[in-house]
Symmetry: D2
Subunit: 346 residues, 4 copies
């Protein structure tokens, strides 16, 4: 079969390198172009020696991309820049955007959370929120998919079916989320230094993390009315992995078993979402390097309260893996193509 | 001044080694005996080479201890064993017990949580719960102090003054706690292996962690009625440090500023408890190796909800440091004696 | 094409789990049996939850294996036990043994290093040392392949071609090797605990590490006379990865460029061994999770001395990956089958 | 007794913060000024929250320092800047300089290794190399002490007495050294990011690390003739700690026992240098946070070769701890003042 030529814009970050890892053995997508403005002219192996044994195009600037050759692109550029770049991409090119730039339907909400007007409000209108398991049919038909943030992916996969089923009190959702450092990207920042991160934990972006805008938007859609979740992010001394510990009150005496039942039905045929049996507790180690989301539930000691634990690899299901899952879907391929990765442990 | 001769029972664990670290430069307490049944006959430096430059007595069995020479002891033995051993300690010896064996006033509660009848119910009656800043006068007069668990210490220091002040809804307290691995001790268990702990996080003891019995007991005392907290422990890929992220609803429109005000007043003169100003966020790295507890508060996005973060070193304020603080108090010494440790970072 | 049915003996250790990871997507080998005496009756997913989404046979005892159904087996049993078990495996079953039990040709050498007589001296005679790139033709024809140790693999891949070429002084080879903790396996030992390994480094097995017997044996074969290398192992605070820093004196004024030339020629067509260009420095991160060995060379400041750095993943090229590479070879399959793994970074 | 007022120049780096940690409880030295040009006007606690409970002067620029009030200063500025700044410090102020700017006696060697002419050649003449145990009498009388680098300290403490005793072949010294990341300082560099450092190891500065100039200089002095050591640095996935694995050939059949004998005699009365008995193997964990250097020796399998392992905390004996030890010495105080720190483990 013919190869489908694609580009990765902003390939020098961790999410770009992850896409290359998945695409290296992909039977249909062919990496035709890799861009990285500041690294243009260098080989990808100079930036990521672990990819040196692969045959990859040289890094170029976005201006050097020949769009005529391309059927699609993954966009791993920083926010704001993304809006400016994607507004100029020709209409025949389908896009999965890993930035936050097209995740919020309401451009006013975007302006509030990101501190500037939306630079591509027209493009926003055609963007589809790319939580694959939830928005599958819309994604399939979309030209532009806004790939969800890692925290929203990890939190929404368990919460949306429960909110839709009306089983939880939507005004009493507490999400305590923990992420590996790779979520902060490869930028050289004091806060991401080894010595500043190892052997410790701390919350960050307290009551102000931008990802909550996505969580609220999608929970509200699922519940059918405005929902505000209590969300707190914590930085973990590890590269990869994300755990959301979610504390909910149930309606009408529903128990963990009832909630598990809903999730099992919702995700029964999903290759990447696994609901654990009673007593099962997810660890981020159990999904490392894979596109899996593993969810466990337990009754709290307090009647009417249920504990939900959701684990993903923030760089895979939380970013590049879901992006490829979406792109597969958009091109009518099996969603698991290139993503049949067994978690790596230890 | 005369030295006060003390023993450390069960000195071969991490909490025993920490006590030695603090006592090495203590002006008044003299380590007269170190016990470790399975390591008896060995030097402490064979078990902990980092202590090799100190002059320390050889490890002996508990039977070899000459109680006549001793004024006090720290007990770092496992639970159940502790009750049997301490029941036989002569009455002139004052005790700080680091196990869980005497923390629950109600021996029936003990039996429920620990799976066997209490072996020393009479001794239980004279035990005092050793949260220093809260129970100071009782501790001072006590013969037997039950040193609090690490999770209770970290959670109760912020919560007790708030519960006493009636500022929070006691039936809606969610504690998401994260601990370093050293809390599991030095026992060779698969779950504590490097490969099983590093680069990942997971909850454990879900809805069944024994420390909640202490938390409930002390919160109930503070509130004046029965309180059950929602508590979940997580294992972190780090040796030391504990963070409790506490999610509360306030009463009567109280805000983070109101709660901070209460805590600042409660702990204004405390050398070891620090309340951060608005915007301040604790990291476990900021207390590593010290007896400090640092607490920060913030208003949630949801009105009427406040986020409280409390950080300690689980081996210090959460174990051996508070134990020494209590022993200092019991002997009329400055609580900071031997504990003027500056946190080590990086 | 027909599936080739194989068993993994001792599947509950890390090397067994790694084999499952590689075989999950292998087009020809089918896992017909998994043994783990102490875990028999359990599912593999109970022991390794990260494998829960795979269809795998239940764990059984070795006695329960139906050898008639099998064409081959991987043996991940501990040493000594391995000799006893493999001596009873029917002759039609081809074996790749990951233990040290058949690596030393000289059974007297085995007895000296492992402290007991060899239990299967006849079987030893047909064993082939499984360093794939060096012994390819012998391995292809072998019934029993002794898969090399991780330290020998990492050290010998650069050294054997140089010794064969007569370019280095064989009596002045210093190997300073560093390994991740997974090399110690999943056994619950104090020395492998998180707190005992993290944030530190130390040498171990000083002047007495058993792997040197293999290194000496193979270097002697390559050099054509008895060679004893100076070898020291260090334990690293990481799960995976191995680096050998090798210090050699060259003959006849040979430089790093001369040595690189020899290695480039030796490994020009090898899919898994990569020689870096001048200035290239290997990191263990660049091979993590893959079957690659990456080698870099540099002239020392001292004339006539060359520095050689060799990096592998100890669980892959140093264990299970090379084992599969060998098994592929033995069955006439492409050596890369199931092993086209892109290194995972970060 | 009167306080001795001192300043720390460049207090916002890790070595500055370590000095504050040691001086917090120092009976004689009083921190009168802390400089940090880019952070001037901020409190030290804004830069290092772990120091928030200490009473410290606000950060100022170097220009704001009132030298009349000061008896001494520690200089933690970057190289080159240091020469310019220290050349202007009034003559009554005694200095311990933690940079590399005054460590090389030969200004031509400095120019070669650091890429520019020495900016303060006159000041260089009065600088004393501050390896305390080796140069004690010169340090005591010095105005300007050039505090040694971490790698030289770790390597030279075992090697100098052996070179002086003529027990080792000086032209065959191989030093394989491993360091924690804190040695790279707090600068935001890609290579020091958590994701780039954790779970891996690699050599760096191969055959070109600037610290070898110091090692050569001091080994040559000890041997009485020019010595060039083979030295390779490796970056470890840990914050603190340094291990030098040193491979030597001995003269006249000397064994590890002979070498140990020399070191034991050299350091018999030293509070900070400990020679382990036969079989003793140092771990960096055993010195963490302390000013100790622990050294172990073993005979190699190859006759005439000895393995030497030397462990320090790179930020303490390798930097700020030795700096304070030197300052104590310069002011006639006990060298251990403020440095009686028990290593922190775990």
């Amino acid at each position: 079969m013919n190869a489908i030529d694609i580009a990765i814009l902003g390939a020098s970050g961790y999410t770009g390198a992850e896409l290359v890892r998945f695409l290296a053995n992909h039977p249909r997508f062919n990496i035709e172009a890799l861009t990285a403005d500041r690294k243009a002219g260098h080989s990808m192996s100079a930036v990521y020696p672990q990819l040196a044994h692969l045959k990859l195009p040289e890094l170029v600037t976005i201006e050097q991309v020949n769009w005529d050759e391309l059927a699609a692109c993954f966009c791993c550029l920083p926010h704001a820049t993304t809006q400016e770049v994607l507004a100029k991409v020709p209409a025949h090119v389908r896009i999965v955007d890993l930035s936050a730039d097209f995740r919020l339907e309401d451009v006013a909400a975007y302006a509030k959370w990101y501190g500037h007007e939306h630079f591509a409000p027209d493009l926003q209108k055609e963007a589809v929120y790319g939580l694959t398991e939830i928005n599958r049919s819309e994604i399939q038909a979309a030209r532009l998919v806004a790939n969800p943030g890692c925290y929203p992916t990890c939190s929404l996969l368990p919460l949306i079916p429960l909110a839709e089923a009306g089983l939880i009190e939507e005004d009493d959702i507490v999400i305590d989320a923990k992420s590996g450092v790779s979520g902060a990207g490869r930028a050289a920042k004091e806060g991401s230094l080894f010595c500043e991160v190892t052997e410790g934990i701390h919350p960050y972006g307290v009551a102000a993390h931008r990802h909550v805008a996505e969580i609220d938007q999608e929970l509200s859609r699922a519940a059918g009315h405005a929902v505000t979740a209590s969300f707190t992010a914590h930085l973990m001394p590890m590269s990869r992995g994300m755990l959301a510990s979610i504390y909910v009150r149930t309606k009408d005496g529903a128990t963990a078993a009832d909630l598990r039942d809903v999730l099992e039905k919702s995700y029964a045929d999903e290759p990447f979402v696994k609901i654990l049996p009673p007593g099962g507790i997810p660890q981020t180690r159990h999904v490392r390097g894979s596109n899996l989301c593993v969810i466990g539930l337990a009754d709290d000691r307090i009647q009417g309260r249920v504990l939900i634990f959701s684990a993903i690899d923030n760089l895979v299901k939380g970013a590049s893996g879901q992006a490829l899952q979406n792109m597969n879907l958009m091109f009518g391929l099996s969603e698991t193509m290139g993503l049949d990765l067994v978690p790596m442990f230890p």
